[in-house]
Amino acid sequence: MSQKETDILSVLQAKFKDTSVQVQPQQLGKVAVIADATTYRDVLKALLEADEKTAVIAITGIDLGATLGVFYHIRTSTAGIITIKVEVPQEEPRLKTISDLMPGAAFDEMEVTDLVGVVFEGHPSPGRLVLPDNWPDGVFPLRKDAKLDNLQFKPTPPSEPASPGNEDIVKIIIGPQHPALLEPEKFALKVEGEIVKDVQPRIGYVHRGIEKAAESRTYLQDVYLVERICGICNACHATCFVEAVEKILETEVPPRAKYIRTILLELNRLHSHLLTLGHAGLEIGFETLFQYFWRDREPIMDITEIISGNRVISSGMTVGGVRRDINEADIPKIKGMLTSLRKRLPFYKKVYEDEPSIKMRMKNVGTLKREDALKLCIVGPTARGSAVDIDVRKDEPYEAYGEIPFKLITYNEGDTWARMNVRMDEVEESINIIEYALDNLPTGPFRVRVPRVVPAGETVNRVEAPRGELFYYLKSNGTAYPERVKVRTPTFANIPAFLATAIGSNIADVPPNFVSLDPCFSCTDR
């Protein structure tokens, strides 16, 4: 462990040495702090005082048999990830909320309430998050004894009337079927004139129960399941999962596999950023820009198909390496396509710099200040557009990122225009990374065999998906099936940013604002 990590640990140990709080260095340098229902808030407060960039990554709810575990995964800038483990009895699952200390944790708590049944007292807006409205009460899917066959669904509750009370306030519902959204989610905007007064999101339309399904499939089957959490960032989900399994198994992945994984991850990032940049054009009514961006995105899909066989879901990762090797004969063709894409980038940069209608629609729209971004635990290009310099590839290098030079892009303005520019510059950086990796591809095997049964253990893992930091918590129990897989996707963390910036803005600014945080609800709902 580094010096700074031991500093924080010693601070914690000193502060809590007379209480029941135990500080344990866990596997691989990640720290776990065992606390109980009375002390966990003090531990969190201590961490917040020690480091301003402390943020809640995720809250895992887990059925430990007699008790229900609630694990708070906290990201610090110096000590990596610290997990505060709290257990509550099954008969009386109540805890105090932490959303007064960290507003970004509100969504995570609602999800734990939905799926495991722990009630958080003092939560600002309790209610269903991922489960449907007609889900029967008292059935918590992630508990081991949940009976999920023959569920008796309640009748659907009626929706709210159009204009409750105040006649000036009109309720406009965006979704679930809406031309602006690729995915079904519902946002109820309360609008007065043209100003948005309130936004009520309802997610959960894409909840497919993946965390529960992962427990009944083998680790290898789970790779295919987890990839399909989101078709756009599929390589990142697969990578995060297999890296977590490899950490428990303590497998060393061969260098060639690491480079190939990096190439697939960066291809994922490229196609996702070009998708968002084009989609933003659609939202502001600039269809020509949308068509141009997507035309230039097609070569990326071709390259993914050359390397892995499929355009979108590349299925390249497996536990122990990658499934297919890169054919040396294909590399010149791939580099040719990347070069032609790189030549188009100055044109797009110029469009964003000079085009007056883009600047009118995107500048000073959805501005998020740096302090708010830190308080709401925002990740990814959304945070980097507000001058917060977090990027898992730099903070905790994984795969081949430690050996490949690239820049971390930040912009200071914090508005939609800045976030789009962050993505545009990252496109260029991704092309650099892929070309470097192709030039310096190490020789050797691309895969090692791993045992089917994984010994008992638990670990956390992070990967930089195109939308931000993707987090997995994995617990194994010595069989061929995982005990618990917890996924926290970047859009889940970024939705509070959208809610905060949409209130008080013009209704016509809501679509560009929304697209600039690059929402992916299939990731959010899982």
Partner: protein
């Protein structure tokens, strides 16, 4: 007189209703092809040669669909408003000289420029009514945005149209078109440019196409319409574009008048009219493809703070130049 065959032929077939109907669809095809080529695509290709029958197929298909009237809608207005707005626009076009004479022969009268601008306003009001009668929040927003934008931009449009009226010394369109020995685009280019920009807003095209901004208001005022009524709403919009372009041709480009080489002058007048109209349609479609959509408050600012003062300035400039400069030069 009612059975005057010439009258019936002119109004119903050529250059009347049937011709306008097919010509509107032809202009729609031109627009779609330009938009597609600007976006590096091909546009409609397989319906008829080069895709030219695509708008016709769209209209026929819409007419054969089931007709649904939402339960909460105001049924009578919902049913007839689209057809009324379409009819009013056809009526307005019939005052414009197309092949040397208007569709309704001998119909021009003093001040008919103002009359047809008023007709267009009423047609758009019926569009607003069709959105209002739909009982759908998206239709309400789309309809009110339509009316706000249209009424706002109507004022600079009328002021700008007065420039060629002043140069011609009359408010009758036929006289304005006939008195352009030198097209007014050369005599008053500032008015022409501003008129084209204002026309973009009146026709709800990018950058002013907020009333049918898909990403915000779904289908705008058309959201609840299906089948035949939707066909009429779409035709109304397309025919408005033809009307706007025809107005530009009459006011600034010399109407149907141009060199006659041989044979019937009416044939050549008609040809020149069609060519000039297509040129204007192409120009407006290019402008549509090149810009993003503005917000409603930006649109209103553009109107009241930019276009209105500029249009007053343009009128003043035209009057000044025509009174003092042109008599010296010509």
């Amino acid at each position: 007189m009612l059975f005057d065959l010439y009258f019936v032929f002119r109004v119903l077939v050529f250059p009347g209703f049937t011709f306008l109907f097919f010509f509107t669809m032809f202009c729609d095809w031109v627009e779609r092809k330009i938009e597609a080529r600007m976006q590096n695509r091909m546009g409609p290709t397989f319906t008829g040669p080069g895709g030219i029958l695509q708008p016709f197929a769209d209209v026929v298909k819409l007419l054969t669909k089931e007709d649904i009237v939402p339960g909460g809608a105001k049924k009578t207005i919902f049913r007839i408003a689209p057809i009324i707005s379409f009819s009013i626009i056809v009526f307005a076009i019939s005052f414009l000289p197309i092949d040397g004479a208007a569709i309704i022969p001998n119909s021009s009268f003093a001040g008919d420029l103002i009359f047809i601008m008023a007709l267009i306003t009423i047609a758009n009001f019926f569009l607003f009514l069709s959105g209002w009668a739909s009982a759908n929040p998206y239709s309400d927003i789309g309809a009110s945005r339509l009316l706000t934008q249209f009424l706002g931009y109507d004022i600079p449009l009328v002021i700008l149209a007065l420039a060629p009226a002043f140069l011609a010394g009359s408010l009758t369109i036929a006289s304005i078109a006939a008195s352009q020995y030198l097209p007014f685009i050369i005599l008053a280019p500032w008015a022409f440019v501003l008129f084209i920009v204002t026309l973009q807003a009146e026709l709800e095209k990018d950058p002013f196409d907020i009333p049918h901004a898909e990403s915000e208001v779904v289908g705008g005022l058309e959201t609840e319409f299906c089948g035949g009524k939707l066909a009429f709403l779409r035709l109304t919009r397309d025919m408005q574009i033809v009307f706007g372009a025809a107005l530009v041709v009459e006011l600034f480009l010399g109407g149907p008048y141009g060199p006659v080489f041989f044979g019937f002058p009416a044939f050549w007048y008609f040809l020149w009219f069609v060519l000039k109209l297509l040129a204007v349609v192409v120009v407006t479609e290019y402008l549509t493809c090149l810009f993003a959509r503005l917000r409603i408050d930006q649109v209103l600012t553009a109107n009241w703070k930019v276009l209105l003062p500029l249009s007053v300035l343009s009128l003043t400039l035209t009057v000044a130049v025509a009174t003092w400069v042109y008599p010296l030069v010509m």
